[in-house]
């Protein structure tokens, strides 16, 4: 099964862990991305995430399907937060269960790496002296 969500409220690690739990699973790997307090040494006050939701959901589903195809993943949950986040808030959760644990690590890492390249979600960092769309400019 696949569970893809874009939410404007606190993400739930245990929900995702529970969703991917399966009697045949040999390993569950959960990646949790949280808001860092600085970017290259500059203190971050807060973040805003904006998504092109219909396409973001489809791109996340593509990642989940690719994982099921390539690593025989049993269940996959990908939840992404939007709206305003404070330091240490959870921005993304990716949970993967596989028959053998090595595959769960590889699949989960592939998922977060790919999400950061393909899913139309944008992060704006707020500093003391201004705001910046992350990764927009060189």
């Amino acid at each position: 099964m696949i569970d893809i969500k874009i939410l404007d409220q606190t993400l739930d690690t245990d929900y995702c862990r529970s969703f991917v739990t399966h009697p045949s699973a040999g390993g569950i790997v959960v990646f949790v991305g949280t808001v860092r307090d600085q970017t290259q040494g500059k203190p971050v006050q807060k973040l805003e995430f904006e998504a092109f939701e219909s396409m973001a959901i489809k791109e996340m589903a593509k990642i989940a399907e690719a994982i099921q195809e390539k690593w025989d993943a049993i269940h996959v949950a990908i939840h992404h937060r939007v709206g305003t986040l404070d330091i240490s808030d959870i921005a993304v959760i990716i949970a993967v269960s596989t028959p053998h644990r090595k595959a769960a690590f590889e699949a989960c890492q592939y998922a977060i790496d790919t999400l950061k390249e393909t899913v139309p979600i944008w992060k704006k960092e707020f500093f003391d002296d201004g705001e910046v769309w992350v990764a927009a400019h060189p």
Binding site: E50, A56, P120, W133, H137
Partner: protein, 79 residues
């Protein structure tokens, strides 16, 4: 032809609005890129700009139809 553009993130800041009607003389994504960058030179400074129609990324040589709503996708930064 006239198409509708929808902008997210820094692309919305550059065109200064979420949606605009855009007059496109060519017919491909590449044509749109050139016309858009000519009108808004700030796009040149971005790390990348992609375009999507019907929730799918479009390659440079793909065609744009008159009724299409084209989404402007600047460098993504989720996760």
């Amino acid at each position: 032809m006239k198409i509708k553009l929808v902008a997210y993130g820094v692309a919305r800041d550059i065109i200064n609005q979420k949606t605009i009607d855009f007059e496109l003389s060519g017919s491909t994504v590449s044509d749109l890129r050139q016309a858009l960058f000519a009108q808004y030179p700030e796009f040149e400074k971005l790390n990348s700009m992609r375009f999507a129609v019907n929730d799918m990324y479009k390659e440079e040589d793909e065609l744009i139809q008159a009724e299409d709503e084209v989404i402007l996708i600047p460098p993504v930064s989720g996760g």
